[in-house]
Amino acid sequence: MAKRSAPEVNAGSMADIAFLLLIFFLVTTTMEKDSGISRKLPPMEESEEDVVIKQKNIFTVLLNGKDQLLVEDELMELKDLRAAAVEFLDNGGGENADGQKCDYCKGKRDPNSSDHPDKAIISLANNRETSYKAYISVQNELVGAYNELRNRRALEIGPQQGFRDMNFIEMQKNYKDVNWPGNRKKLEEVIDQIKKEYPQKLSEVLK
């Protein structure tokens, strides 16, 4: 008896089926963008005692209802904010709480500006009518000022600890990366030191 060959399956419609699925996934796809500016809110319980902070250690940033930016009671363009914040934070005109001078600051050491990065506070006030985009722009510039100083410091002390050509952002990224081959414990120490030298002190007020 002659061998019966199996009938061939017609695969002509396979492309159509695949196209159908493809179009479904194309339509439902949303490339999720889950990144942003991270902040920590202050806890609810207010400490009763009033802390006295010298006026020169506070850098006031005010955004009014018309999205105008007022820095230390003067109008300012958004693009100048980062430089002004860096100058304020990095001034190092005095001593910190332990009576130490800021030996890593490169500012003007103006006695009328902030004493020490440890004491310098940025106060961000905004109005109920301020638009969210203006607020985010200002937040971004202020975080940028801190990052700029931290990056500079990381490039200074990194090489002594064996982390050459790595700025603060890259240090944090490497620290989170499980596959990073370097010495994590040492890196953590460096990150903590930089965070301590340039602490983010940002207080927010809604007016």
Partner: protein, 159 residues
Amino acid sequence: MSKFKKKKGGDLPAVNTASLPDIVFMLLFFFMVATVMREDTLMIENRLPSADQIEKLEKKNLVMYIYVGKPSSSYKAKYGDEARIQLNDKFAQVTDIQAFIAAERASKREEEIPYLTTSLRVDKEANMGIVGDIKQELRKANALKLNYTTTQGDVSNNN
């Protein structure tokens, strides 16, 4: 010399489409892998502002989303033109946030609760008033880790 005789001219040979399914399947697999199904159906306009000093949010299952924006065109007649809060497919009031946080916490394992982050997805045209109210509620609920979700880009794109 019929060896080099020209083939019958005229009609073009058909393009071989046998590899078309393979190509399509390749694309299909790419999109299947890259797809994240939207968890919430947005009922509001949500154009995020851009910023460049951003950090990536890790552990997507430990993120709570709060959306703020103007109701989209199909809801405008019913809900008006003011920016509103959306939690889980529904419009909500500021006072609902604490209950929402509690519900989100209850759905997670106990050891994960300290790592929960709130992602604020606020339309760039919204006012800070509503954002300030949300922040106050989050403080009351003791959900202090916050992320202002933005797109990557220069701040000058915000205007």
